[in-house]
C-alpha cells in the first residue's frame, strides 16, 4: 500500500463524517426517512433563555431552602424536557422524496417539488429551507401525502441544483430546534434570459436539405392533411374543427423568406459575447413560437432540425441553457452549487 494512501485514510474518515453531518453532496437516495441518526436538536434562543431562568430558579430555591420552589423548578424542567422529545418525534419518521424539478428562465425562480410522507402521524409546523432561499412552513396531516414546492433563485442559465434542504421544527413549545439535512440530486434547468428588445427574426433562409420537416414553411396555404399528433397548434385548421369536419392540419408551400428560420449561433456578430448571443437566440426561439414559424437551431457542435411546438421549444431552450461556448469556461461547471 503506498504511503500516501495510508496517510489519506484518517482524513477520508473525517471527510466522510463531515459529509454525513453536513450533507454537502447530493448523496441522498430516492427517499429519506428522518431517523435519530440524522436529526440534531439544540435549544432555540428562547430555549436558552428559559433554561437560564430555570437555573436561576434552581439556585435561588436551593439557597433559600425552598422545597416547593424546587418542585416548581423541576416541574418546568420536566415540561421543557418533554418538549425536547416531542420536537424530535415531530421530525422522526418523516419521509421526503424528490419528486420533480422545474425549468425556468435565468433570473426567475425555479420550482422543485418534494413529496412528504408523514408516516401516519400529524406533523406540525415543519420548515423546509433550501439554502439561501426563503423557508416554507407546512403542516402535514397524518393521512396526507402532500407535494411541497420549494422555489430557488436561478441567477444564471444552466443546471440549477436544489441543494441541501434543512428540514426543521421547533414544535411544540419553540424551546428546541430539531433539524435534519436532506440533499437530493435534484436539478432543474434555467434557460438563458431572453434578450430584451432583440432584433427582428432573420429571414427564413433555410435550405431545403436543412429542413427535415419539408414543406413546413409558412408562405402560401397548399392544402389540408389529416391532423397528426405532434402537429403545432398554430397549424390546426380551426375553422374546420369548429364546423365539425374533423381535425386537419394546414400545409404550406414553403418559398422565399417564409421558410423555416435558421437560428445559428455562428451567424451572429462575433462582437457579441457568447451569453448575449444565447440570450438573443432565446428571444428568437420565443418569437418563432409566438409567430408559429418553424425554426432550426444551430450551435457549434449541435444542430436541431427545424420544428415548432412545445417539445421543440423545450429542446431548443435546453440546448441553449446547457450550451458550452467553445473556448469559454464551461457553464455546466458553473452550475449553482448549493
Amino acid at each position: 500500500m503506498p504511503a500516501s494512501r495510508v496517510a489519506a485514510l484518517p482524513l477520508a474518515g473525517v471527510e466522510r463524517a463531515r459529509e454525513r453531518f453536513l450533507r454537502r453532496r447530493p448523496s441522498d437516495g430516492p427517499a429519506v426517512t428522518l431517523a435519530h441518526a440524522r436529526i440534531y436538536i439544540v435549544p432555540s434562543r428562547r430555549g436558552l433563555a428559559v433554561i437560564g431562568t430555570l437555573a436561576t430558579m434552581l439556585v435561588a430555591s436551593l439557597n433559600y431552602g425552598l422545597a416547593l420552589g424546587l418542585v416548581v423548578t423541576f416541574l418546568l424542567t420536566g415540561l421543557v424536557s418533554a418538549a425536547l422529545l416531542h420536537t424530535f418525534r415531530n421530525l422522526a419518521g418523516l419521509t421526503l422524496r424528490p419528486s420533480g424539478a422545474g425549468e425556468t428562465f435565468a433570473g426567475a425562480r425555479i420550482a422543485f417539488t418534494l413529496g412528504l410522507d408523514p408516516g401516519g402521524r400529524d406533523r406540525v409546523a415543519i420548515e423546509l429551507a433550501p439554502r439561501e432561499s426563503s423557508p416554507k412552513v407546512v403542516d402535514v396531516a397524518f393521512d396526507a401525502v402532500p407535494a411541497i414546492t420549494l422555489e430557488v433563485d436561478a441567477p444564471r442559465r444552466g443546471r440549477v441544483a436544489l441543494g441541501r434542504v434543512t428540514v426543521s421544527s421547533t414544535w411544540p413549545l419553540g424551546l428546541w430546534r430539531g433539524w435534519s439535512y436532506v440533499h437530493f440530486p435534484l436539478e432543474g434547468i434555467a434557460y438563458p434570459a431572453p434578450e430584451p428588445g432583440a432584433p427582428a427574426l432573420p429571414p427564413g433562409t433555410l435550405a431545403a436539405d436543412e429542413a427535415t420537416l419539408s414543406g413546413a414553411g409558412d408562405a402560401e396555404l397548399a392544402g389540408l392533411r389529416e391532423y397528426q399528433r405532434g402537429d403545432p397548434m398554430q397549424r390546426v385548421a380551426w375553422k374546420a374543427v369548429a364546423r365539425g369536419r374533423g381535425w386537419y392540419t394546414k400545409e404550406f408551400e414553403g418559398a422565399g423568406g417564409g421558410g423555416p428560420v435558421l437560428l445559428a449561433y455562428a451567424s451572429l456578430p462575433r462582437t457579441l459575447d457568447p451569453e448575449t448571443r444565447l440570450a438573443r437566440l432565446t428571444a428568437w426561439v420565443l418569437a418563432c413560437e409566438r409567430a408559429g414559424r418553424s425554426y432550426a437551431l444551430s450551435l457549434p457542435g449541435l444542430k436541431l432540425p427545424a420544428g415548432l411546438g412545445r417539445e421543440h421549444r423545450r429542446e431548443a431552450l435546453c440546448a441553449l441553457a446547457l450550451f458550452e461556448p467553445p473556448g469559454a469556461t464551461r457553464p455546466a461547471d458553473q452550475r449553482v452549487r448549493r
Binding site: 422545597a67 416548581v72 424539478a101
Partner: protein
C-alpha cells in the same frame, strides 16, 4: 467590517419587525402573568397587588383593541413611560415598607416590574423576557410560606407557562390552532405529566446545599407570640392565637404536661414596669445528659426571632437535620439556645433534654438578679420586707408567697384589665388580683428580689397538645407562658411556676382548661366537639407530614433515603452520582429504543446495485431521469454505449427478474452483483 455590522444590524432590525407579538400571544402572556401574580396577592400590600395586576390587564385590553381595529397602528407605550413607572414603583414600595432591600419589598418590586415590562412588550423577544420573569415570579411566593395551598396556587401558572410557550411558538395554521386556550392547556398538562418522572427524580436526588450561598432575605415583622420584653398589667386583654409554634416528635412517650416547659427568652432586667431580656454573651455549660433524659425532634415554625426552644433543660446543642450547622447556635449562660440569625423559615432539629427544674450558676448571676428600681411598687417592696422578717429560710419564704397566691382571692384570667400604670405590681397584688401567667411570675420575682432572693422571669411555652394521629406534640402560640427562676445558695437556679399555685389546671390541662367561659380564646378550640377535634388533629398531622416529607425534604432526608436503600455512608457525591447514573441510564435506554424503532430497513440489494451501476455510468454522461425507471434507464444506456450494451442488457434482465420475476433467487442476486462489479465504463 462596518458594513458587515451595519448589515447585521439591519437584519436584526428587520427581524424585529417580523417577529411582532400577535394579540393572541399577548393574551396568553397576560394570562400567564396574572396566574403567576395571584399567589402573591395575600403577601403584598393591597395597592401593590392591584397595581401590578392592573398593568397586565391594561396591556391585554390594548391588545383586544388592536384586534378590534385591524387597520389602526398597534398600541405602543413609549419607553420613557416605563422608566417613570419603575421609579414611581420603587418610591411607593419604599414608602410602603420603609426600606427597599429585603424580602418583601424585593418581591413587591419584581411583582410590579413584570407588569411594567409586559406593558411595553411588542416583540417576540419581549415575550421571552416576560416569560422568564413570570417563571421566576412563580418561586417567590414560597419565601412567604410553603403550605400545600401555596403550591396549589402556583399550578395554574405552571400550566399557563406551557400554554404561553405554545402560543409564542405557533408558526403554522396547525400550531396556531394548537395554541387555542383549551387545547393548549390540555397539551401543556400532558407535557407536564410526561415530565413528572424526571421532576420526581430530580427532586429526590438533586443534591441540596448544606449551607446557603448567601444570606436569607429578612422579613420585616416578628410573628411570634413571644417577645423579648414583658409588661404585665399594661395589657388589658390578651388575645391568644392558635397558630402552631412548634411540633415535637418524641422517641418514646412524651413527658407529662406538668414537665413540658419549653425554655425561651430569659428576662433579668426590671424597670418597675417591664421586664426585658438582656443579651447574655457568656456561653453557658450544658447539663450532663443522664438516665432520665428525653430525645426528640422539634419542627420549629418560622418566627423571625433567634430563639430555639427546648424542654428544660437542654443537654445538647440542637442538631439540625436540615441546612445549618451547630456553629449557628449558642447556649447562653442563662441556658437559652440562641441562633445567630433569626429563624426565617421552618427549621427542624434533633434535641436532647434533661427534665430538670434546677441548674447551677455562678454567684455573679445572682447579684445581677437582685436589682429593683428604688421607689417603684412601694407596697410590694414593703410586703417583701415583711415576708423576709417572718421567714428567715428562703424556701419557707417562697412557699409563703405561693400559699398567698393559692389561698387568697387571686384569679387566673386572660382579661385582667389595666391596673395602676405606674406601679403595676402593686396594682396587681393589692387591688385587682386578677391576671395571667405574666402577672403572677412578675409579682413573684419582684417579691423575691425585694426579700433579697435573686429571681428572674423565664418565658417560653408550656404544655402542648398530643396528636395521636401523627404521634407528636403540637405547641401553639396560646401555650406561651411565663414562669420564674430563683437562685438558692448551693443549689443554683430553681424553677418556680407561680401560675401553678393559683391555676394548677393551666399547667396540667393547658390554657383551655384553666380559663372561664367568657375568656378571649379562639372559640373553635373551646367548643371543639370530639369529631371536630379529630378532624383538626388529622389536618394538623397532614400539615406535619407535608412539612417533613416535602418542605423539609433536604440534604439530610436524601442521605437518610440512600442509607435505607443500602448505601453505606452516603454523601452528596453519591447523590450526584446517582442522579447522573439515573439520567444516563434513561437516555441510553431511550436511544436504544429509538435506534430500534428507526432501524435501517433491510437493504434493498437490487436497488443498491442499480444505484451503483448508475453511479458508474455517470462517467459516460448518463444520469437517470427523475421519472425514469431502472429498466428504461439501462435500456437507454445500452443504446448510448454500444461497447457495454451486452453487459447492460444482462444487468437489466436480471434486475427485472429480481424485481418483477415470479421467483427471484439468490443466484440471480449473486450474478447481478458480479455483473455490476465488473461494469467498467
Amino acid at each position: 467590517m462596518t458594513a458587515r455590522a451595519l448589515s447585521l444590524f439591519r437584519r436584526a432590525a428587520s427581524r424585529r419587525d417580523v417577529d411582532m407579538l400577535s394579540p393572541l400571544q399577548i393574551r396568553w402572556l397576560g394570562i400567564l402573568l396574572v396566574c403567576a401574580q395571584l399567589p402573591h396577592a395575600i403577601n403584598l400590600p393591597l395597592w401593590i397587588a392591584v397595581f401590578g395586576v392592573a398593568l397586565v390587564v391594561v396591556r391585554m385590553r390594548l391588545a383586544t383593541r388592536d384586534t378590534a381595529r385591524p387597520g389602526a397602528a398597534p398600541a405602543r407605550i413609549p419607553s420613557w413611560a416605563l422608566v417613570v413607572f419603575a421609579v414611581i414603583t420603587a418610591f411607593l414600595v419604599r414608602a410602603s415598607y420603609g426600606y427597599l432591600v429585603g424580602r418583601d419589598p424585593s418581591v413587591a418590586f419584581l411583582f410590579v416590574l413584570a407588569g411594567i415590562k409586559f406593558l411595553e412588550s411588542r416583540t417576540a423577544r419581549d415575550g421571552t423576557l416576560v416569560l422568564c420573569l413570570a417563571a421566576f415570579l412563580m418561586v417567590t411566593p414560597f419565601l412567604f410560606g410553603q403550605s400545600p395551598f401555596a403550591l396549589a396556587a402556583v399550578v395554574p401558572a405552571v400550566l399557563a407557562f406551557g400554554g404561553a410557550l405554545a402560543a409564542l411558538a405557533a408558526r403554522s395554521p396547525a400550531s396556531a390552532a394548537a395554541a387555542a386556550p383549551r387545547r393548549s392547556l390540555v397539551a401543556a398538562g400532558k407535557l407536564i405529566v410526561q415530565g413528572l418522572p424526571l421532576a420526581a427524580l430530580l427532586f429526590v436526588l438533586f443534591p441540596r446545599l448544606a449551607m446557603p450561598l448567601w444570606g436569607l432575605p429578612q422579613a420585616s415583622r416578628a410573628t411570634t407570640g413571644l417577645s423579648d420584653t414583658m409588661s404585665p398589667g399594661m395589657i388589658a386583654e390578651l388575645t391568644q392565637e392558635d397558630t402552631v409554634a412548634l411540633r415535637a416528635d418524641f422517641d418514646g412517650p412524651p413527658p407529662p404536661a406538668s414537665l413540658r416547659y419549653w425554655r425561651g427568652p430569659v428576662m433579668s432586667r426590671f424597670d418597675g414596669r417591664s421586664w426585658s431580656a438582656t443579651l447574655a454573651r457568656a456561653e453557658g455549660s450544658l447539663v450532663p445528659y443522664a438516665g432520665n433524659g428525653v430525645a426528640y425532634t422539634v419542627t420549629l415554625e418560622a418566627n423571625e426571632s433567634p430563639w430555639l426552644f427546648a424542654l428544660e433543660l437542654p443537654a445538647a446543642l440542637p442538631r439540625f437535620t436540615d441546612a445549618g450547622t451547630i456553629a449557628d447556635v449558642v447556649l447562653t449562660s442563662d441556658q437559652q439556645l440562641v441562633a445567630r440569625r433569626p429563624i426565617g423559615q421552618v427549621r427542624r432539629y434533633a434535641q436532647l433534654s434533661m427534665l430538670a427544674d434546677r441548674h447551677p450558676a455562678g454567684p455573679r448571676a445572682a447579684t445581677e438578679n437582685l436589682r429593683l428600681p428604688p421607689g417603684t411598687n412601694p407596697r410590694t417592696q414593703q410586703l417583701a420586707r415583711t415576708l423576709r422578717e417572718r421567714h428567715a429560710d428562703d424556701r419557707a419564704l417562697i412557699q409563703a408567697v405561693l400559699a398567698m397566691f393559692r389561698d387568697e382571692d387571686f384569679t387566673y384570667t386572660l382579661a385582667p384589665g389595666v391596673v395602676h400604670p405606674r406601679d403595676p405590681v402593686d396594682g396587681f397584688l393589692f387591688d385587682s388580683r386578677r391576671g395571667f401567667c405574666e402577672h403572677y411570675a412578675s409579682a413573684f420575682a419582684v417579691l423575691l428580689r425585694g426579700a433579697g432572693i435573686p429571681a428572674r422571669i423565664v418565658t417560653g411555652y408550656q404544655g402542648g397538645e398530643y396528636n395521636p394521629a401523627g404521634n407528636y406534640l403540637i405547641v401553639r402560640q396560646l401555650d406561651a407562658h411565663a414562669w420564674a427562676e430563683v437562685w438558692l445558695p448551693g443549689q443554683g437556679w430553681a424553677r418556680v411556676d407561680p401560675t401553678a399555685a393559683v391555676a394548677p389546671e393551666r399547667i396540667e390541662r393547658g390554657l383551655i382548661g384553666a380559663v372561664g367561659a367568657d375568656e378571649p380564646v379562639p372559640g373553635r378550640l373551646r367548643d371543639a366537639s370530639a369529631l371536630w377535634a379529630q378532624v383538626e388533629l388529622r389536618w394538623d398531622a397532614m400539615n406535619d407530614f407535608w412539612n417533613q416529607r416535602v418542605v423539609r425534604f433536604n440534604a439530610d432526608s436524601q442521605l437518610d433515603l440512600l442509607e435505607r436503600l443500602g448505601v453505606k455512608e452516603p454523601d452528596w457525591r453519591v447523590l450526584g452520582l446517582g442522579l447522573t447514573a439515573s439520567l444516563a441510564a434513561f437516555f441510553v435506554a431511550l436511544s436504544i429504543y429509538l435506534g430500534w424503532k428507526f432501524r435501517r430497513p433491510e437493504r434493498d440489494w437490487p436497488a443498491r446495485l442499480h444505484q451503483l451501476a448508475a453511479n458508474r455510468l455517470r462517467k459516460r454522461g448518463l444520469v437517470p431521469g427523475v421519472a425514469e425507471g431502472p429498466v428504461a434507464f439501462l435500456d437507454r444506456a445500452a443504446e448510448a454505449c454500444p461497447d457495454l450494451a451486452r453487459q447492460l442488457r444482462d444487468i437489466r434482465g436480471i434486475y427485472a427478474a429480481l424485481r418483477y420475476g415470479p421467483q427471484p433467487t439468490a443466484t440471480d442476486l449473486q450474478r447481478l452483483k458480479f455483473l455490476v462489479n465488473g461494469l467498467r465504463p
